[in-house]
């Protein structure tokens, strides 16, 4: 059973009055992550909205030891810290439960610039949780295209809509043969919480990706962050799944879409709510380009359904 809202712990690791935009999906997600991790953790951040949101020195908007590191180095820096902690414990210089080492990076810091260090840390199975909060663009610098930007989306570097599909980053991490991989999004806080608790209690490399609908980059109304997150899942644009030791299971409502019990909502309505697709929807070739986007979603659903059947 998924943890209910009323069962979530009181602890708040994201402090009120931080520098994030109103309605920010990254802080919304990090709040839930904080409830699962507790205070005994060390946070590493790459340049991103979540760094800008920390506020100004000498104040810090997150209640953990936080380290701001170079864009390309989240995986390797976390590996170093994780090994250092283990050695300190071995030498008796650190008592009690070891803190959870976790990276909190954007999609730019994960799919693109941070990929090499992340891949290497995963291959070594170093002990950490790597979170990617995925707002599908380089938002902090004014919304440029990333490897997570979906086909058709406007960004400042794809003025006529991106022509390529996004990567399936969580699947790439799964194929590193690490003990735990999961996807989540802000509309389903109990699901996210349970996944983080599982990751915290699993030794080795864990990867959790959280879809984070950003009103500024996606161009929808600020109060609709959670609505957009829900629509992404219901349209099948974002699938909720987790894999323990390589075995995939889907979480509701994605499980129903995968099993065919419930049809995914057509993608049009989800796209129409977002200004980043409005130019595409107004173009003379709109029908064809929507069909391409729907095709990407259908292919992903079909692929993940089959991939999940491999359980050896």
């Amino acid at each position: 059973m998924t943890t209910s809202i009323k069962q979530l712990p009181d602890i708040e690791q994201v402090l009120s009055g931080n520098g994030a935009c109103g309605g920010c999906p990254a802080t919304m997600a990090l709040r839930i992550v904080g409830k699962a991790l507790g205070s005994n953790a060390i946070m590493l951040l790459t340049p991103s909205c979540s760094v800008a949101s920390m506020g100004m020195t000498p104040k810090l908007g997150y209640n953990w030891p936080c380290i701001n590191i170079c864009f390309a180095t989240a995986g390797s820096s976390a590996s170093g810290i994780s090994h250092a902690l283990e050695i300190m414990q071995e030498k008796g210089r650190l008592q009690g439960e070891l803190p959870t080492v976790f990276c909190w990076a954007g999609d730019g810091g994960t799919y693109d610039i941070g990929f090499q260090a992340l891949s290497a840390a995963a291959e070594r199975n170093d002990n950490m949780i790597f979170f990617c909060y995925n707002n599908e663009a380089y938002s902090n610098t004014g919304v440029q295209r990333s490897g997570a930007t979906p086909r058709g989306s406007f960004t400042t570097t794809t003025p006529t809509g991106k022509r390529q599909p996004k990567k399936n980053m969580a699947l790439l991490m799964l194929e590193h043969n690490i003990p735990y991989v999961a996807t989540a999004t802000v509309a389903y806080p109990g699901d996210l919480y349970d996944k983080v608790v599982k990751a915290k209690n699993t030794p080795g490399m864990k990867y959790i990706e959280i879809l984070a609908p950003c009103y500024l980059g996606w161009q929808f109304n600020m109060p609709e962050t959670v609505q957009m997150s829900r629509k992404a899942v219901r349209s099948g644009s974002w699938l909720l799944w987790e894999a323990e030791n390589g075995k995939i299971s889907f979480n509701n409502p994605s499980a129903h879409i995968i099993s065919g019990k419930k049809k995914a909502e057509p993608v049009d309505e989800y796209l129409m709510k977002q200004g980043r697709f409005s130019r595409l929807l107004k173009g003379s070739d709109a029908a064809q380009r929507i069909a391409e986007i729907q095709g990407d979603i259908d292919r992903e659903i079909a692929f993940m359904r089959e991939r999940a059947k491999i359980t050896i």
Binding site: I5, K6, L8, D10, E12, V14, L15, S16, G17, N18, G19, A20, C21, G22, G23, C24, P25, T27, M28, R31, I32, S53, M54, G55, M56, T57, P58, K59, L60, G61, Y62, N63, W64, V186, P189, M222, P223, E224, T225, V226, Q227
Partner: protein, 85 residues
């Protein structure tokens, strides 16, 4: 080398209001009607700013940014967004 005093080290400490009194950003103010509210805590869980008290369902206006997520997600319609003066 000259020693660097604590004030000049690039180190920050966890504190509320790291982005200032962010309540001043608000254009609309969420107002909870306790007669309608069922205390389901849905607004509390989605508030990105952690400014809603989960038991009393009261809001800390010093930091509430007025994003309106709470009002949009409230299943009973107990939260109205009222224009700030």
């Amino acid at each position: 080398m000259k020693s660097v005093t604590k004030a000049y080290r690039p180190i920050s400490w966890p504190m509320k209001g790291a982005g200032g009194d962010t309540g001043s950003w608000r254009v609309h103010r969420p107002v909870v009607d306790p007669k309608i509210c069922s205390k389901c805590q849905i607004c509390w869980v989605y508030c990105p700013e952690a400014v809603i008290d989960r038991k009393e369902i009261t809001i800390d206006y010093r930091y509430c940014k007025g994003c309106g997520v709470c009002a949009t997600e409230c299943p009973t319609g107990a939260i109205s967004m009222e224009k700030e003066e």
